[in-house]
Symmetry: C2
Subunit: 187 residues, 2 copies
């Protein structure tokens, strides 16, 4: 793969994570990538095109990682714990989730849809593991697995918000442990 | 209160909600408020100063509303349900929560701290109602109220992210109902 192209995507990924879509200028991407304007427009039609490539690249990393936890070894509850407790950079926030706070991202279906796909796939996998856990008696049985999957994914996304507001990763951990305690079947 | 000052704060509140801090320019605030640059700098030192006033004004609205639910009539579980189900604009996101995704807001303690205060106060109130509910046998007793409070507030914040990504308020509702089902004591 072309080296300038790779550097442009990597720089866009970093800047989107740090500053969001609105806060990232084409010039900042070029500077971080060490690539000139002409080369950037040779490879990409513009900022939205670059952001699409960056989001795709991030999704291609994230999805296999979440599958490894949710479809990996262990009982259903152990897999849910492994997924929710997997090391996350609580103060930096979610690479994809932070982008949907951005009005420009939500207004552009070609940017929003790949993010939605990551979330929708994760919700399906979470619901499947929850149902397995309910069948095995590990997960609280008198709740709707689809709704609880939405609650689990929301805890992850919202826990970043709490941790960033307080500048303390402990807020993230508390939220994750709180929902994990609620998910486990009472003894 | 001076009319231009009020209009400047109201316009900043709206723009912060729609576009975030980085996406809001002093010029856009002036245009929406119908106030000239000179008048803006007569009332406020700049964008950060205006944003502080806007965040304070939003907090002064939100905190009494959440107290009315959490400290209002009804059993502890009814109050938690009232708070979590209170009408929210799921696709627009949280007026304060969306701001902490912004690197510039997190980097400026005078912007971040008033947001953190809203969250920290809400966490304390949620934990108090959860403990009341545990004592009354309505809320699952074998969980840590502080951690579950963090999970509840995270669900609200994260449910906005899911709803915006999918452009569907049903994702918000599913997450809220999922966590409410988990909080209730099993029968």
């Amino acid at each position: 793969m072309d080296d300038a192209r790779t550097r442009l995507i990597e720089s866009t990924r970093e800047l989107l994570w740090e500053r969001g879509y609105t806060g990232t200028s084409p010039r900042a991407i070029q500077e971080r990538a060490g690539v000139g304007q002409g080369s950037m427009y040779h490879h990409f039609a513009g900022k939205a095109d670059l952001a699409r490539a960056a989001i795709r690249s991030t999704a291609q990393e994230m999805v296999p990682r979440s599958r490894a936890h949710l479809e990996g070894p262990g009982t259903p509850l152990e897999r849910l714990r492994a997924y929710l407790r997997a090391e996350r950079d609580a103060l930096r926030g979610c690479r994809v989730g932070r982008l949907v706070q951005d009005a420009e991202v939500v207004a552009d279906a070609s940017l929003r849809e790949p993010i939605d796909e990551v979330f929708s796939g994760t919700l399906q996998r979470l619901a499947a593991v929850l149902r397995e856990g309910q069948a095995a008696g590990e997960v609280r049985a008198d709740v709707d697995a689809g709704q609880v999957a939405a609650a689990l994914l929301s805890v992850l996304q919202g826990a970043y918000v709490l941790a960033r507001a307080h500048q303390d990763p402990a807020r993230f951990t508390a939220a994750v442990e709180g929902v994990l305690a609620l998910v486990a079947a009472p003894r």
